[in-house]
Symmetry: C2
Subunit: 219 residues, 2 copies
């Protein structure tokens, strides 16, 4: 604590130090620059937070969604649904106090059954961990922020009769399979409620931003 008390007077740079003011100005900048007008109000609110998480206002141009996705995800959370995450970073980022029903935030990537299951299925650990969601899927909110294989696997399980999630926030990132997995979710005959960012962009921070925005109407 010495450092803290010795150096409290040090202010070399001029910058906004008020967290609430930083949020206000950030969201105002996003609302001024991003083309949010084509979005329903509840989706626009989520988009603002997703843009905030990555610093790119043109993210909105790659956004695709079902009109009721935010309402469906919000209702699920209010009803106590778990949030099923494909990566520990996604699970770590969700702000617990925003959740309306102390909802469980679950990432099973570290489950001891995963390595062997991945081997048996001939797939990634991220996809194998999705198989372990099977009995939690019905009514859940799924947040995929990392692995395209997790999103593909989810669609396979739903097609095979696994429970139907209330909403899928699908923003896996990267160069191999990411764009394809998101397109597959959009085209899927199961017609799940979805929010995706088409193309290569995505990531755990973006998935977290979507969950946090939906969890609470507080800004």
């Amino acid at each position: 604590m010495n450092g803290a008390s010795d150096m409290s007077g040090v202010q070399r740079y001029a910058y906004v130090r008020d967290g609430a003011e930083i949020y206000r100005r950030s969201f105002a900048t996003i609302r001024a620059e991003a083309r949010l007008d084509r979005l329903p109000g509840d989706v626009a609110r989520v988009a603002v937070r997703m843009i905030h998480s990555c610093g790119m206002v043109d993210l909105v141009d790659d956004l695709a969604f079902t009109p009721s996705v935010v309402a469906a995800a919000r209702a699920a959370l209010l009803a106590g649904a778990p949030v099923l995450c494909d990566a520990q970073m996604v699970a770590a980022g969700v702000t617990r106090r925003r959740l309306p029903a102390a909802n469980e935030i679950l990432c099973l990537l570290g489950d001891p059954r995963v390595p062997r299951l991945a081997e048996r299925l001939g797939t990634t650990r991220s996809a194998a961990a999705v198989d372990l969601w099977a009995d939690r899927l019905a009514g859940s909110v799924v947040a995929v922020g990392n692995a395209p294989t997790a999103l593909f696997r989810l669609l396979e399980l739903v097609a095979a009769g696994a429970g139907r999630p209330a909403a899928v926030l699908g923003v896996p990132v990267g160069f191999i399979g990411a764009a394809e997995s998101k397109q597959a979710l959009v085209d899927d005959p199961a017609r799940l409620e979805y929010l995706v960012v088409h193309g290569r962009r995505g990531g755990s921070a973006m998935a977290v931003a979507a969950v946090n925005a939906i969890a609470s109407e507080e800004d």
Copy 2:
């Protein structure tokens, strides 16, 4: 486990399921598309992973760095330095088994002293948490993936005589202060070793990718 055993035969979509192959193809795509030629080899390796984390090959055009930053950070990790992170998501994302000396990964944002300290300093909790790093700063690797105020505060503490980190991976994200804080790091008279992504882009996944790349030469 029922779901896992019942559904192991389900393979509806054609996609690459081999994790190692996904990495190989991803990195090959990035090396083919990104303009890495102007970078020293060790920085290029880190850039590839940062690009991998966000899906954007043009990230490299906003990259700025000191020529020795990767070597300095790597040497620090080998010597057992802690990784000081501004956000829980950054700390959560670092792959422990890649670390060469079981290095401590530290985020103090949840420290009980932070709220009061932030109030006293008239700043964000993210910046206040940096004050609590004071006696760990010397020789550390700092990874800022979220808050511009944390990066500004770091520069203030170093200017006031706090310990000098071995390297600063500075990729705070956003609209208010992010670009300015990274420019401040580049221009800082303390001439720290740094790696930044200029502008609004950044984020915890990018910071994690940089740490993970530097931690191990394994791909």
